[in-house]
Every structure is written in structure tokens, then in C-alpha cells.
């Protein structure tokens, strides 16, 4: 194939796999007739040419998943550009020919493969499903706990429960998101002691399974309510109990110039400054859901294009400066952020973040999230606040 290729699969109503910014995104869902199938999205991606993927097929029966993807890959292999590696990705092909023409090419190729060798027999689907059986859950009477006494005795536990745990389809259970975003470590970093510790907790409380997420956290997917308090105590001991999931400090951060040979600018210094400046958790809770994503170069490993606030480090004239984008999203309403204005000096980045947040706090309506406010009021108030009085930005 012309170049690397990434497929993302989402099996939930809310897209947590950033599937619209992958070469292929697959959404498993149940259609109006009650059948399970895939919506197939092609040609998304970030990096130097950010693109939101487009739907190439609204509904694909699961048995034909492989035959259909085979057709997509063959069309890409034969028609993708070979002359320039930056233009060799499928997103460039889809944009060049248009999604209608691309869909037609895929459908034509698919006629040769559909219903043949690549059609998955139901027995094979069932066999593979057998590897994903539900764990041996406790009955609801044994698993559940109202946790009322613990909440009253330990308000910090109540806050963590609200911020870092999610509803579970199994009665009596919760999903726990373990924050790897404490004040002292780089976002997503974990020490060997913490790794040993969290592995033991997975064995003790979550059927030995630990998942990592693209936003640089960990998930313990099956925690009985009655175990939550003990788990929280142990996570806190490990320095992994910070109740900041979904908040400003739950940022995605690439390693930047400190560790990466491709980077043009430092990023870890920004996460340090952000943690030092915005250290009031009540302020973070009041701000609500904010996705801050930081990349140290144009390759966009920090997914800055799809951050509600995105920051891209660049090097200009020997100086590290940072471009801000606002209004991106990697969720169901995936969108690419737009550039706020000229680049900001490194020592002014936290000042500008504070200004952007001030505008939101002043302008938001009841229950309005940061992203909704940006979408409603547009960029002008943010530009006025950041550039109207702020004269120290780079040229």
C-alpha cells in the first residue's frame, strides 16, 4: 500500500475511538430494522493534512466486513499517490476524486469479493465472540453498595466517584477511569512502581484486565460498587487518584522536544505550567468538560486539531512558539479546530489559556460547555481578549 494505514472501531453510541480521524473508521450500530452492522468512514486523519472522514457506506452487514475492507484497500493500493509520501495517504485520494467517485470505485471492486471467500461464516463470528465473554460478575446484591457512608466521611472520594467513574451496563458495577494526569508527572506517564501497583489492582478488583485509552489514561472496566472505596484508597496511595477526568488538566500531550526527535517545540513544560497555574480543582470542575490537546510538531500525535483547545508547538527563528486552535472535537460531532491567530510565546501560553477560559466563563449560558460556547459566540470575543491587549506574541 502507498503508506501506513490505521483503522479505528467504535462499538458505542458515543465515539471514543476518534474514528472519524482515521484512515478507516468503523461504527458498529443497530439499524432501524434491528440488525447489527457497520457504518464505514474513510479518509480521515490528522498530521499535516487534517481531514474528517466521510461515510463510504452507511450500513454494512458484519459478515461482509472483510470483503468490503479488501475492496477499499485495493482501490487505495491501485490509485493512491506514490510520488510524494505526504500525499500518499487515503485521505488525499478520497479528497482528490471525491467521496461519490471513491464510493463507486469501492462498490465496483466489491462486486468481485462480496459473498465469496471473504464472507465471514456466522460460526466463525460466534467462535471469535467466544473470546469476549462477560466476566464472572457477582450478583447485584453482592456487588452493589450505595456508598453513602463513604461519601459523607470522605468528600474527596465522592468527588472522584463523580468525576472518574462511569455507569456500567452490569447492575452493581462501575467503570473506573484511572487518571494518568497528576501534577508531578508528564501526562500519560507511569512509573514502574505504579505499573506494578495498578496490575495488582486489576487482578484484585477487575478480573485481571486493564485497558489503556487514546487520551492517555487507563480504564478498569469492571469494578463492583462495594470495591470502589478500597480501590480509591489504593489508587490514591499510588498517586493515581486524581479526580480530573474530562477536565482541563486531563490533557493529551505528546512528549515534545524533550524526548522526540521529530518535535519542533517543548510540550511538557506547558503541561507543568498548566498544572501549576490551574491548580484549583473547583475551578476545573466549574469549567466542566474541556479537551486540551498539545502537539510539539505538525505530525499531531497530541491530536491538537480535534481538541476543544488545541496547541501546536512550532519553531520560528530559533524560538519555540505555539499556535492555538479552538473548537475542535474528536467525538460524534468530530470537527477540526480553527486557528485563533498569530503564535504565542512559550511563557505566555498559560496566560492565553487563562484568557480563553475567562471569555468562556463570562459568556457561557446555563449548562453550556466550552465547546458549545465557542460554537455559539464564534472567535471574535476570544481574539479580542487574547490579541487586543496582549502585545508579546511572536510575529
Amino acid at each position: 500500500m502507498p503508506r501506513k494505514f490505521k483503522i479505528a472501531v467504535s462499538g458505542s453510541d458515543s465515539d471514543r475511538a476518534a474514528s472519524q480521524v482515521h484512515d478507516i473508521g468503523l461504527h458498529l450500530y443497530r439499524n432501524d430494522a434491528g440488525q447489527m452492522g457497520f457504518e464505514v468512514i474513510v479518509g480521515g486523519g490528522l498530521g499535516r493534512t487534517p481531514v474528517i472522514g466521510k461515510t463510504v457506506r452507511k450500513f454494512l452487514e458484519p459478515q461482509e466486513l472483510l470483503s468490503y475492507l479488501d475492496a477499499v484497500l485495493r482501490v487505495y493500493n491501485l490509485n493512491g499517490r506514490r510520488d510524494n509520501k505526504y500525499k500518499a495517504r487515503i485521505k488525499i485520494l478520497v479528497n482528490a476524486v471525491g467521496i461519490e467517485a471513491f464510493t463507486k470505485m469501492v462498490e465496483e471492486e466489491w462486486q468481485f469479493t462480496k459473498g465469496k471467500d471473504l464472507r465471514l461464516p456466522q460460526a466463525e463470528i460466534e467462535r471469535v465472540k467466544g473470546f469476549f465473554k462477560a466476566p464472572d460478575y457477582l450478583s447485584v446484591e453482592h456487588a452493589q453498595s450505595s456508598l453513602e457512608t463513604e461519601f459523607i466521611a470522605h468528600p474527596a472520594f465522592a468527588t472522584w466517584h463523580k468525576q472518574n467513574t462511569r455507569d456500567h451496563k452490569q447492575p452493581g458495577y462501575r467503570i473506573v477511569v484511572v487518571s494518568l494526569k497528576n501534577q508531578l508527572q508528564a501526562p500519560g506517564d507511569i512509573s514502574h512502581q505504579q505499573m506494578d501497583g495498578i496490575a495488582a489492582l486489576a487482578d484484585e478488583f477487575s478480573f485481571g484486565e486493564l485497558r489503556s485509552t487514546h487520551d492517555q489514561n487507563l480504564v478498569l472496566a469492571d469494578i463492583a460498587q462495594r470495591d470502589l472505596f478500597n480501590l480509591w484508597l489504593k489508587l490514591t496511595d499510588l498517586g493515581m487518584g486524581r479526580a480530573n477526568i474530562g477536565t482541563l488538566t486531563d490533557m493529551i500531550n505528546c512528549p515534545g522536544l524533550d524526548f522526540c526527535s521529530l518535535a519542533n517545540a517543548e510540550t511538557l513544560i506547558l503541561s507543568r505550567q498548566i498544572n501549576e497555574t490551574f491548580d484549583d480543582m473547583n475551578y476545573q470542575y466549574d469549567l466542566g468538560e474541556i479537551q486540551l490537546k498539545i502537539s510539539g510538531c505538525i505530525n499531531a500525535c497530541g491530536h491538537h486539531h480535534v481538541g476543544h483547545i488545541g496547541i501546536l508547538g512550532v519553531e520560528k527563528g530559533g524560538k519555540q512558539v505555539y499556535q492555538f486552535t479552538l473548537g475542535g472535537s474528536a467525538s460524534n460531532d468530530a470537527s477540526l479546530g480553527k486557528t485563533l491567530g498569530r503564535s504565542i510565546d512559550q511563557d505566555q501560553v498559560v496566560v492565553v489559556i487563562g484568557q480563553i477560559l475567562d471569555v468562556y466563563v463570562q459568556q457561557r449560558e446555563t449548562d453550556e460547555t466550552f465547546l458549545q460556547t465557542v460554537q455559539r459566540i464564534g472567535f471574535a470575543p476570544f481574539k479580542e481578549r487574547v490579541y487586543g491587549t496582549h502585545q508579546r506574541s511572536a510575529a
Partner: protein, 141 residues
């Protein structure tokens, strides 16, 4: 340069043609029965003319250009029975895949070992993916 054809070392075979498909198409005077092609040629046109050819040599100019795989696969799918010869960057770790999509001859460089190539062609007995060789995935066996 050694040639492996139909899973054995070939000692008596037609040399790899130096007539490129585009020239063959344009010039009636050089209507031979074998051509050299690569991913840059018009595949639809090649498929339309394949029945006039005894041998189609597909060149892998670089490792990163995998169009030759799709070309061989589509030639076989359209019923082409002649020789499909892999030339150029015929990497050892890809010979088996070339064979599976429809190549039946492989031109090796002098620094490539014939026995190693022959081993590559037969060492895998099960596959995940069906291909032009008619072998189904392991779960269908």
C-alpha cells in the same frame, strides 16, 4: 540472475522482456508475446490486452510500491493463464505473498539464495486470508 518458475529453479526460460507495455501497445512492429509492466501502466488497458500475451513481467521498482500485487491478483481474476513474473525488488519475505496473489515466476538477484526462495514458497501451510491461489483461511479448513 536465477529464475524460479512453478516452484522450481528454471534452467530454460524466456529472458525477461525489455519491451515496456506502453511501447508494445503503441507500436505494431514490436508485437511480441511478452511485456514488462509496472504500477504506473494503465491496468484496465493491460487487462484488456492480457490474452495476447504469454508472459507479463511485473516490476517492483521499490519496496514501497505494492501495486504489482493488485495487478497480478486482477490478472488472475480476469482469467489470465500465462506467466506472471516478478522482477525488481523481489524481497524474500514477500515472495510467498507474491505467489499467493498470482505470480508464478520470480527473478532473483545474484545475491539472493534460490533455496531460501523455494523454502519461502512452501513453508506456510495455513493462511488467514484467501487469495488467488484458492487456499481459504484456516477457519474454513
Amino acid at each position: 540472475m536465477a529464475l524460479i518458475k512453478d516452484q522450481q529453479l528454471s534452467l530454460n526460460h524466456v529472458a525477461t522482456p525489455d519491451i515496456r507495455f506502453a511501447d508494445w501497445l503503441d507500436d505494431d512492429l514490436i508485437k511480441g508475446e511478452s511485456v514488462l509492466t509496472n504500477g504506473a501502466d494503465d491496468l484496465t488497458c493491460l487487462l484488456a490486452n492480457a490474452s495476447k500475451l504469454d508472459m507479463i513481467a511485473i516490476e517492483f521498482e521499490t519496496f514501497a510500491d505494492g501495486r504489482g500485487f493488485s495487478m497480478a491478483r486482477l490478472l488472475r481474476r480476469e482469467g489470465y493463464q500465462g506467466e506472471i513474473r516478478a522482477v525488481g525488488d523481489v524481497a524474500m519475505d514477500r515472495i510467498e505473498f507474491m505467489h499467493r496473489v498470482g505470480f508464478n515466476a520470480f527473478e532473483l538477484r545474484d545475491d539472493q539464495n534460490v533455496n531460501e526462495a523455494l523454502t519461502k514458497l512452501s513453508e506456510m501451510s495455513v493462511h488467514f486470508q484467501p487469495s488467488a491461489d484458492g487456499k481459504g483461511p484456516a477457519y474454513m479448513a
